[in-house]
């Protein structure tokens, strides 16, 4: 390749300019372009900053598209009622269908009887007939116990859950915090008594009726019984052929 052809084959900008006899771009134009390109990155930077940060403002609904319809969904607020709830609490003295709770043993765990002028309460000892104590019930009971009871009573029921540990560290006893009872020591409580404790609470322990449905309360009672057995087992409870293993 001779030198002449090479000059034409590789068109560097400066050579092109010379050979085509172009004039330079005026500096205003060059700086205008540079400025434009620089400015173009600003919106991009703003958007990616918005993407990487949290925002306390809800999302922008550029197109409404029926995103917010004039209807109430679960737990949404309503300006119509004084308390701001769109979900109305049941009127006092009424019972919703299916929520009668008419079975003393299953729904309450105790019966009341009147002798003379005094009412006496007697708790049911065993499980109601609707409840079949089997492996599945115990599994369910364990799961529910770990969700609802273990924060205070601990996974083992001894009364040293994380909330108690923390409340003790924070010296909350002065505010009225009481150590949760060691439920493995309550083998003599009737099943109905345990059930009623879950439903209505006892002394400083709150009731869990709103959080735990009836069937699950009985599952927890069954699991509490299992915990009590496991903590208070004697050698006689172990099958004879396995005794030497743990002795």
């Amino acid at each position: 390749m001779d030198k002449h052809a090479q000059e034409w084959l590789i068109p560097t900008p400066s050579r092109l300019k010379k050979q085509l006899r172009l004039r330079s771009m005026p500096w205003q134009m060059v700086s205008g372009i540079v400025l434009l390109v620089c400015l173009a990155t600003v919106p991009l930077a703003l958007v990616s900053r918005a993407r990487s940060k949290t925002s306390t403002k809800p999302r922008v609904h550029l197109f409404q598209d029926m995103d917010n319809q004039p209807k109430y969904k679960t737990q949404s607020p309503s300006p119509i009622f004084a308390d701001g709830r769109s979900m109305r609490p049941p009127v006092a003295g009424t019972v919703a269908r299916g929520h009668l709770e008419g079975d003393d043993h299953y729904d309450r765990g105790f019966t009341m009887s009147k002798e003379g002028d005094a009412w006496s309460v007697s708790y049911f000892k065993g499980f109601p007939e609707q409840v079949v104590v089997d492996d599945a019930l115990l599994q369910r009971g364990q799961e529910r116990f770990l969700i609802y009871c273990s924060p205070c009573h601990g996974a083992d029921g001894l009364g040293n859950g994380m909330v108690h540990v923390r409340a003790t560290e924070l010296k909350q006893a002065s505010n009225g915090w009481t150590q949760p009872t060691d439920i493995t020591t309550l083998g003599d409580r009737e099943a109905g008594h345990l059930y009623n404790t879950i439903r209505n609470g006892i002394r400083t322990m709150p009731g869990y009726a709103a959080q735990i449905p009836t069937a699950d309360r009985w599952a927890i009672v069954a699991y509490v019984r299992a915990l009590q057995l496991s903590q208070n087992a004697t050698l006689d409870d172990v099958p004879a052929d396995k005794r030497d293993k743990i002795q």
């Binding site: 958007v47 306390t56 403002k57 029926m66 969904k73 701001g84 909350q172 959080q211």
Partner: protein
């Protein structure tokens, strides 16, 4: 001045930079045609719009403290998540289970105590909020083995809940086509650190396919039909 005035015989001479104008307009036009749509697309992307919303709540309630440090299960508070479409935000009474004694002298908890005394509900701001024309159901997911962390991220490390996923339709559909990538045993639903390989000793895909069969998860045609979510 060499400006043409009507009636005058002087000619208008184009300045030299005019030569650059046409190529410049073409190049900028082409650049703009790429730039503007990508900017708008980037800015209006559901991930840009939705992710990271973390409003200031009336009480500085911390999941990192309650669900993280104290180790409370999500269902202690969000009780309906397994049985209903809506994951209930806990009523004031749930907070009072503990806070009737613990920290019952702190100002931060004054709105909770007021709400308990007056019966007026706490006004928590809703964070995750789909368009009202779409239908979502928690229990359908929880009972088929989709864990909270898959859709809400590590809530147990958040002092203030923020939206972790964009909740766009394409996000929903992506999983509805291949749910096996995300399924886990039902008893690990609220576990925030569960991992198929570590905790079940199986790769996610193999375990997911097993669980898909075991829990009877529907096929992709059923799961992506419009009427599932627009009913």
């Amino acid at each position: 001045m060499d400006v043409t005035i009507q009636g005058s015989s002087q000619k208008f001479v184009f300045p030299a930079w005019i030569n650059y104008l046409l190529p410049l307009v073409l190049i900028l036009g082409a650049g703009g045609a790429v730039y503007v749509p990508s900017l708008v697309g980037y800015a209006l992307n559901p991930t840009t719009l939705n992710v990271g919303y973390a409003p200031v709540q009336p009480v500085p309630f911390s999941h990192a403290l309650h669900a993280g440090r104290l180790g409370m299960d999500c269902r202690y508070c969000h009780t309906t998540v397994e049985s209903a479409g809506f994951a209930a935000i806990p009523p004031t009474q749930t907070c009072m289970n503990c806070h009737s004694t613990i920290h019952n002298d702190k100002v931060t908890l004054a709105p909770v105590r007021d709400s308990h005394a007056t019966g007026k509900p706490m006004e928590w701001k809703k964070i995750h909020d789909l368009g009202d024309y779409s239908y979502f159901n928690h229990s359908a997911h929880i009972n088929k083995g989709v864990g909270c962390v898959t859709c809400h991220g590590r809530v147990d490390t958040m002092d203030v809940v923020r939206q972790a996923k964009n909740l766009s339709m394409s996000w929903c559909i992506e999983c509805h086509r291949n749910p096996e990538q995300h399924l886990r045993p039902r008893d690990q639903i609220t576990n925030m650190t569960w991992d198929a390989q570590v905790d079940a000793g199986q790769p996610q895909l193999a375990l997911g396919l097993d669980l898909k069969k075991k829990y009877g998860v529907h096929d992709a045609a059923y799961m992506t039909s419009c009427s599932r979510c627009h009913r």
